[in-house]
Amino acid sequence: MSSLNKQSFINILFSYFPIWMLFLSVFNDFDFNYLKIEYFAFNFVHILIFFWTLKNPDHLGYASIFLAGIINDVIIGIPIGISSFCYLLICFASAYIRNITLSPNFINDWLSFLFIILLINSIQVTILDLIFFIEVNYPKYLINTGFTFLFYPIFFFLFSIINKKISFKLND
């Protein structure tokens, strides 16, 4: 009986994996910057939100994403609300793709992801530069977008394995 309880506790904990990762990455600014490779940076949070809201939105609530955006803004020091808005736009795009897609295709998802991150980074830069008059480094944003796009397949593969395990364990 106790082992059964323990097992279900682990399953529940595992089902919160996307939320753990989301908050850990916004608090910790998880982007491999400490590797000190010049110009190398990517946005892990964008990949995480896009994947989970597209493939399994039950495990990553919109309210958590909104809160993570607020925390991200505080940590990196930009006006509160901007990241939340951008993250929720990713959610909207992934929900739209989910609604119009009958048979999911990796290449379609990947290209849609590129379009979405280009769009939301443009919105973010526009808000920062034109509304809040915060000078931003445009080439770095573009390079960051490029690396985020390139890293998507790796995390897609990893998250797919985790997603299968979560779905399997919860349906078990």
């Binding site: 990196i76 609300g81 000078e135 480094n137």
Partner: protein, 282 residues
Amino acid sequence: MATSRDDFVIAVRSAFLKKKDKQKFSLLTLLFLSIFVIILSNYNFKVIQYIKIGINEITYRASFLISAPENKIQSINSQIKDHLEIYDNYKNIESELEKLKQKELVNNFLKMENEKLRELINESIKSDELLAKVLIDKDSPFLKSIILNKGTKDKLKIGMAVADEVYLVGKIIEVNYTNSRVLLLSDLNSKIPVVLEPIGMQAVVSGTGGDTGKIQYTKDEYGDQIKSKDLIAYTSGQGGLFKPGLPVGRVTTDNINKIDFFSDFKQLEYVKIISHSIEEVN
């Protein structure tokens, strides 16, 4: 044609309004809420400021705790590197120490002479220093800033200079009750008035978003004067924001518009917050 437009509208409406089983809020509600937050954060109402300070306090502390394991790994890594390079470092330090000893003698004389000259014009500079620990130093590719563990309870104010030992690293741009944010010199939005010595030319050091800065707003003959020697940039004290004479960085003859900062912003653990006042001596 009409059917495909209907499909598009249905898909968009469903994406905005439809909640999955475990979602408590619709996407549209949260999108409006985030726009509302962005607009509110633009206003400086007292209530909003207090809420902002509260959110900052909680988030900075939580981030400090969560980053602890990663920071520990980084510090172990840097310790190992230091141990491996210990002999080379020792040799370099030994030769530098000898040079510094010689310079100190000259500096002491100049310091006393400077004090006497200030007395002659009835002026003295008083400064206070406060030691602070760096809580968060995430190297974001967009904004270069650090969070310190001192705030309004330690009488910190926006605009105070922050130094790594004697080298200027930035200025305070946000103060909460127990912590504050420092904009580093390398940030694109940082502009510091400096004086370039030994030519004595006024300039502004701006951040580039990278590890170096750039020299701006110099006189036309700046290029001719620097040709033969390296320059050191010190804070000029123009505008009364910073104590004059804080070393900022070195300008080499290779690239006269680029400045290499003396301090390594990625290695900051403790910094000094410097406040100063220029008083008249009667």
